[in-house]
């Protein structure tokens, strides 16, 4: 869908949309390849719109995929690989924004909203709970008795 909408606006020129990771990039060691895929899916293709390097066919994404695999083969931990990429390209490359002073509002917002909504509703409940009553008032009881009597006769 996003492609349709992007294309309607003419924002994106897709180059051949296809299997992004090419066979020649795949590492021999399956465990290492698995880690490489995991890391790649969290790194943004810098020249694309919100696409991970794992999904993208852009040459830059390919370079980054190869870079990630080189670092992994050299023995880096996942964290070290990501740090290495961030050191070169900045936080912009991370699809999961890091939690820091600039993003705390972003991360906290969903939970603050649901909490404050719950508190608001809880306080309103205390304000309006009193009048609700399951028992009939005296008048209603009289009316009900009348109706019942009429029903019998």
């Amino acid at each position: 869908m996003r492609a349709v909408l992007h294309l309607l606006v003419g924002l994106l020129a897709f180059s051949a949309p296809a299997a992004a990771v090419q066979p020649d990039e795949v590492l021999k060691n399956p465990a290492l390849e698995q880690r490489a895929r995991g890391i790649s899916s969290g790194l943004r293709c810098l020249v694309c719109q919100n696409q991970s390097i794992d999904d993208s066919d852009a040459p830059l994404a390919k370079d980054l995929r190869i870079l990630v695999r080189e670092r992994l083969t050299a023995g880096d931990s996942d964290g070290a690989v990501i740090d290495f990429v961030v050191a070169r390209y900045g936080d912009f490359v991370l699809l999961r924004p890091p939690m820091n002073v600039r993003t705390i509002a972003l991360w906290a917002a969903p939970f603050l909203i649901v909490l404050s909504g719950a508190v608001f509703l809880w306080r309103r409940r205390n304000r309006s709970a009193a009048p609700v009553s399951a028992a009939l008032t005296a008048e209603e009881q009289v009316r009900l008795d009348e109706l019942m009597k009429r029903g019998d006769g």
Binding site: A16, G90, L95
Partner: protein, 660 residues
Amino acid sequence: MFVEIGHFALALALGVAVVQTIVPLWGVARNDPALASVGPAAAIACFLLVALSFGCLMMSYATSDFSVENVVANSHSTQPLIYKLTAVWGNHEGSMLLWVLILVLFGALVALSRRSLPAKLRAGTLAAQGSVSVAFLAFTLLTSNPFRRLIPAPGEGQDLNPILQDLGLAIHPPLLYVGYVGFSITYAFAVAALIEGKIDAVWARAVRPWTLLAWTFLTLGIAMGSYWAYYELGWGGWWFWDPVENASLMPWLAGTALIHSTVVMEKRDALKVWTILLAILTFSLSLLGTFIVRSGVLTSVHSFASDPQRGLFILGILIAFIGGSLALFAWRAPLLKQGGLFAPVSRESALVINNLFLATACATVFIGTLYPLVLEMVTGDKISVGPPFFNATFVPLLVPLLLLLPIGQTLAWKRGDLLGAAQRAQIAFGVGVITTLAIFAFVRGGPVLAPLGIGLGVFLVIGSFWEVGERIVGRASGASAILSRAKGLPRSAWGSALGHAGVGISVIGIAATAWGTEAIGMLKVGESLTSGRYTVTLEAVTPRTGPNYREDAARFRITANGRELEPVEAMKRIYTARAMPTTEAGIRTVGLGQAYISLGEPDASGAIAVKLHDKPLILLIWTGALVMAAGGGLSITDRRFRLAAPRRVPGPAALPQPAE
């Protein structure tokens, strides 16, 4: 000739829309019924004019009139006729015209609706709707005119973008727009109610079918877009948390909340102020979505600045309509009288909790989508907010909502019995837990969350039907009594059961994606690749020529667990006019799962890169959405929406309806 007629009709429609906005309100203010009744006629005239205009644009596409700039940029004489026609909305100008067409169509439908509305409400609604038409007709005419001529006319067009030459494109935008724009009616109803200062169950009953209609189409549109992206883009993903997708998800979430809050208003006359606010917000989010998509502001601040005219125009519309309606809301909402009270444990409270979670989920998508933009404007720092953020925030918000759903559905109105409701949900819950445990026991080494997700989905599907089941079976005995009871239930009860079951079905499909596998390899003819249950063998690569493309079709033998299936083809195409390559995935459906093959680049030795996915139960994702939409559609046909609420006559229809 057609082109000038279309252009003129569009300009005339703008004039009529101005009449539709001003005259009915004036009539109401002066208590002049003749003036007030201009609204319906104007709305119908406006629709006919825009339909004529749209027909003219279609005509110039059908005849490949290359003296029209828009046709040149998006069509080609060799294109199949169907794609010539769908190309009308495969570009900015044409899709704005479609947007306006659907907008005025809804206005005409309100005007024609046989449901008798209070005169003031109808006049106010049509006037509010008319003002939206004015804004978007002006936008189309002034900044995005599809009828502009090109002199001298070139001999050939530049072709529609090949990715859009697909049946998915024929269906997706109209469905999505009916959804998006349909919420303009609920918005217009809300504005009319605020102007009148009165809102009651009649209002809720009048609005509800429109909300359901818009929601149903938006559901279909989003699902269609998701499936289209899945099979056309070739990497097998179905949802990307992309800003443009989020733009359609936000009104859907708000609209879902609105459907539920109007139920409370209709049945119990409560939650009025909140419902009005939601109706305004839902359409505001549709407008915001249009702004996001049309201005390109989210792709980069710079692309917005390079062509600011359209972006600024829509931003102006956005500020006027959202700001104006919210100001009206702040001024008039305190006048609305609060209605029915309810206990903390009741159907009403359950629906309030539903609204709390849906509104928060919607706000989360909103903040996640716009935060990077705002941060960049304020501090200059660039960050990305991608799928990992939404998975970490949106999903935890939805899980409690879904867990509570079957319990809330069986609570009574006004004052419910929590223990009883929990007991009624316990069998569904038990089956869900057993399903989860069974999967844990039999499937080794899979992801942990998938069995939990499937259990949740099963719980939802069974829980959704529990209430109608009880109402049918609980009080009747014998098959014929059950059948007649099933027929006697209001359609909206079945609709809500289906809608909720659809959510459960989608949850199962989404959870099962965790078991998907993929394999990549370079294949020469005769070589095989295995992923999960499927093995494919490349049989031949054949070059072919289509109407406006050339392609290499790779034919694969495919087996599932050793069983031979029909062979499958995947293609690499070059569309000649733009020299643009695309891939067409090869898909073989087995039960509810699919084998998905996409092609990559060939190498020097003649081998071609092949990616094979095993996607178990993937079709359930969209099946669930279809079931949800079916539920929405069924609810629209409920008897009580077809009746004239203000002048009900005694008879079977006037009997109190059981709560859904």
